[in-house]
Symmetry: C2
Subunit: 192 residues, 2 copies
């Protein structure tokens, strides 16, 4: 069900603030961690920011390889999302331990996570000051894909029929909010 | 229903990626705009990042005054959130036009938006390069409040009884996802 997402629409994948899984690889080592803190910073070219703590193994791999992927997990794999956010990959390969099936990203050959609903492969834009002072990494999205059952025509389409595929929004301590409703708002006329 | 939020818990208010309203004031001029792109970058001291485009009046006010507030809107005011994200305050005061009732923030006297469910007053941390290259502003949260009906004990508490107060997550074009369910996940044991 994976389909390419046009780069002009890539930032819509994280526009609504989902928790993401950051996956990385360098020289035969790989890792995946959860990150509640990411956001787009530009639509065209698509650029993102993500916070990667100094203590993480992911940070070593991203700095060494100059690339990372954002994988967007869903309700069906909430336990996995919490688990990879609660353990370190420094001593043990999380893919093997937790039975995570990766597939290779088309653009940067990053290990992408099966069971997620969208994937963004990013090149790190080196910003040593932001990385040091705020743990904030900037990246340019070079390829994106999404599960066509829940993201189609450049839009998320959350409904009752695909509830298992709805995105996760971390409230703390493994408690996730799930986007289970959508509303269409309208511009108010206001007082003239 | 507004109650202070401990600074140690302030970043939990935006941890799950809600759309925010950025309010600002300088020398008698004030404004409010919507921003889907914000995130915490540090818990202690509480620091945030928010994208403020170069075209916005808000950016002028933030640069001149060195402060901004993040107000978190909810389902009940989705039209207002979309409206202040679709209009410019450069030529007309949005507060007057749309009947927005502000109250003064306790710490920085910023105009905070009635009807929202949480409020963070922030001092800008001057980062001219990030602001210029990525429109990304960093700020330190100096005071936070939340509506006790939906955020209590340092946690969001979304349930069927407070559905009007659930946060908004912008999907695009005025379509908002709403967090209407929460799930408690668990750390997996994995293969030993």
């Amino acid at each position: 069900m994976r389909q390419p997402v046009a780069l002009a629409h890539a930032c819509r994948l994280i526009n609504h603030g989902p928790t993401v899984l950051v996956s990385s690889e360098h020289d035969g080592q790989r890792n995946v961690m959860a990150a509640a803190w990411s956001m787009p910073v530009e639509f065209t070219p698509p650029r993102v920011a993500v916070v990667i703590d100094k203590s993480t193994f992911t940070r070593e791999l991203v700095l060494a390889s100059g690339r990372f992927a954002l994988n967007i997990p869903c309700r069906a794999i909430a336990d996995l999302a919490y688990t990879v956010g609660s353990t370190s990959g420094r001593d043990e390969d999380k893919f093997a331990r937790y039975g995570i099936a990766p597939f290779a990203g088309a653009a940067l050959a990053l290990p992408l996570i099966e069971g997620c609903v969208a994937w963004l492969e990013c090149r790190r834009i080196a910003e040593p000051h932001s990385e040091q002072a705020y743990d904030t990494f900037f990246g340019e999205v070079v390829a994106a894909e999404a599960d066509a059952r829940v993201f189609a025509g450049g839009r998320w389409a959350f409904d009752d029929g695909n509830a298992d595929l709805h995105t996760l929004h971390h409230l703390g301590g493994g408690n996730f909010g799930v986007v289970d409703a959508t509303i269409q708002s309208h511009v108010m006329k206001g007082r003239s």
